[in-house]
């Protein structure tokens, strides 16, 4: 699928623009603070009805305006669909084919996007909590069952931690109830663990392929799922994992009461990324870390293709300047002629021009967008 046309009304620093995009590669060039990220953000918001940069929708409305409007036309194999999203002080309105949708959940999914922004480097460099959050968001998007299991798990975990605190302070003493909470947590923990194991395998397959393409086969990316369940037991089925967790809760019970918190379970999971067998977080160069983050995040492109039958739209914010020529070339070649790509840069010199076949180039200046008519070469 691709976005053939985008109109913005009073969106961030855009008063009014109307842009026609290439189904292949679109390059947005502009100095700092001109509106490049704002434009990518607008496409993201048109797709998901929320921003990747803020939780406060009002920030999207141009200062001193009442509302912001984003409209676009999505082209798919099956035809084209006009989308419209209006953000006002009162909330959001979303239209598909000019018809207002009662629920945002009916709207989302019309346009699929994958965005890579500089902050995504945290998938590799950040804490385990950042990676768990990333995994839960990605997998939650792909599976309603996962979303259900992880949210049940989290709410039981909160109750259990609170109860452990009460036991620790001797405000409670009933261990039968603790046993119930442990069993509940073990049951959902087993479901979450099994789903993470399966999804991570799928994701690893695609990320590995991408990483190889970007590095021209020089680097092999592998994942290691780190769970408290020993590696040789991770292959167990739900029932087997459930029993493993139960045993862990039994053996750790006195420690958990002493510390007043849950020490066992997938809320302590992590995933390690290895490049040629070495942990890239500790031993990788800047470029290797960036490439790893890209490969992991962009694995979603192929996962989505597998699920929906169509490639999503790819948004790359400030990515190229950080990669060497070889990695740039192969990153773009991988998606060329398959995935509509938007990339931002402060100068064309950052882009190896000859590698991109006929990109459509736009200059972004203080809230205006102009197509560069002469083809770069």
């Amino acid at each position: 699928m691709y976005l053939s046309e985008l109109q913005l009304d009073h969106y961030r620093n855009y008063e009014q623009v109307d842009v026609h995009f290439s189904p292949d590669i679109n390059v947005l060039i502009g100095e700092n603070a001109q509106g490049k990220t704002n434009l990518l953000e607008a496409i993201y918001v048109l797709a998901l009805a929320r921003s990747h940069r803020t939780h406060n929708d009002r920030e999207l409305i141009q200062w001193n305006s009442e509302f912001a409007r984003i409209t676009g036309i999505v082209q798919r194999k099956t035809g084209h669909t006009p989308l419209e999203l209006i953000v006002s002080q009162k909330g959001k309105k979303a239209k598909v084919n000019h018809l207002e949708q009662a629920k945002l959940s009916q709207y989302i999914g019309q346009l699929n996007v994958v965005l890579f922004a500089p902050e995504d480097l945290n998938i590799v460099k950040g804490s385990p909590a950042v990676r768990r959050h990333f995994i839960d968001m990605e997998f939650g998007q792909m599976s309603a069952k996962y979303l259900y299991n992880i949210s049940q798990y989290k709410s039981i975990l909160k109750q259990r931690n609170q109860y452990l605190k009460q036991l620790q302070r001797r405000q409670a003493k009933d261990l039968i109830y603790l046993g119930v909470l442990s069993d509940q947590l073990a049951a959902y923990g087993a479901e979450v663990t099994i789903a993470r194991r399966e999804f991570l395998q799928q994701m690893e397959k695609w990320a590995q392929k991408l990483h190889q393409e970007i590095t021209k086969e020089r680097e092999l990316l592998t994942f290691r799922y780190q769970s408290q369940i020993p590696d040789d037991q991770l292959a167990l089925d739900t029932e087997g994992l459930y029993q493993q967790f139960q045993t862990l809760y039994e053996t750790q019970q006195s420690r958990e009461v002493e510390q007043g918190t849950t020490l066992v379970g997938p809320h302590r999971d992590d995933v390690t990324f290895l490049v040629n067998g070495k942990n890239v977080q500790s031993f990788g160069s800047q470029g290797q870390q960036r490439t790893t983050a890209l490969s992991v995040k962009l694995a979603e492109i192929d996962l989505m293709k597998e699920q929906t039958g169509e490639y999503p739209v790819l948004l790359l914010d400030d990515v190229l300047s950080e990669l060497d020529d070889l990695r740039q070339t192969h990153l773009l070649k991988t998606f060329q002629n398959k995935v509509q790509t938007f990339l931002t840069t402060t100068s064309l010199e950052n882009v190896k021009k000859e590698i991109i076949s006929a990109p459509r180039v736009f200059t972004v200046t203080n809230g205006t967008v102009a197509m560069v008519t002469t083809e770069v070469n």
């Binding site: 909160k158 109750q159 039968i176 109830y177 119930v180």
Partner: protein, 198 residues
């Protein structure tokens, strides 16, 4: 300027109700002044009577005018079946179904440490006492399908199962008459998992 004392007091009373702040309370107080005398009198009477004449049944915990309640006193109902619910309003809905003829037990909540509700804070001890006095054949637990509802069901089951009482859980899933097309994915998943042989 200050409100005359009767109005100020009435505003204060309204503000004791949940979800009512100063503004709404003031509006309600001035409205009350304009109401006709009979309506106000019966309003006041109803308030007092709801409080004075309603009690919790000492057997099942349901709200009632007389203790024990009508259901607990009804000897034509099967005495060896107890259906456990979270709230008095759940008894009302089940009674409206007119299909269940056993007894009830109202928990007044579910176990939730976050809300300060432990095993001693909901009506579980009375259920155990009741079963020790007159053992039932079956206890059906109909708490909601929330994690807290499930945990409460499991907890009760662990307390009473050793006594040889059959414990069942009310099936959840698609409600009767609901349209599959409009059910969310998880409800469907649950309904499929909980399918029964016919």
């Amino acid at each position: 300027m200050q409100y005359p004392e009767p109005i100020a007091k009435l505003i204060e009373s309204y503000m004791k109700l949940p979800g009512i702040g100063n503004k709404t309370a003031t509006r309600l107080a001035f409205y009350t002044i304009d109401m006709n005398e009979d309506d106000v009198t019966s309003f006041a009477k109803n308030l007092i009577s709801a409080h004075r004449d309603l009690h919790y049944c000492s057997v099942c915990g349901n709200i009632t005018e007389e203790d024990p309640c009508e259901i607990c006193r009804d000897t034509t109902r099967s005495q060896d079946m107890i259906l456990v619910v979270e709230q008095p309003k759940d008894v009302m809905s089940l009674e409206r179904m007119n299909d269940y003829h056993g007894l009830y037990h109202v928990l007044h909540g579910v176990l939730s440490p976050i809300e300060g509700k432990g095993p001693d804070d909901i009506n579980i001890a009375n259920l155990i006492k009741r079963l020790q006095k007159t053992p039932a054949k079956e206890v059906i637990i109909a708490t909601n399908a929330t994690p807290e509802g499930e945990a409460t069901a499991m907890y009760i089951s662990r307390l009473i199962k050793p006594a040889g009482i059959k414990v069942t859980r009310l099936a959840h899933g698609l409600s009767v008459g609901s349209d599959i097309e409009y059910a969310d994915e998880m409800t469907l998943l649950k309904a499929v998992e909980g399918r029964q042989e016919i």
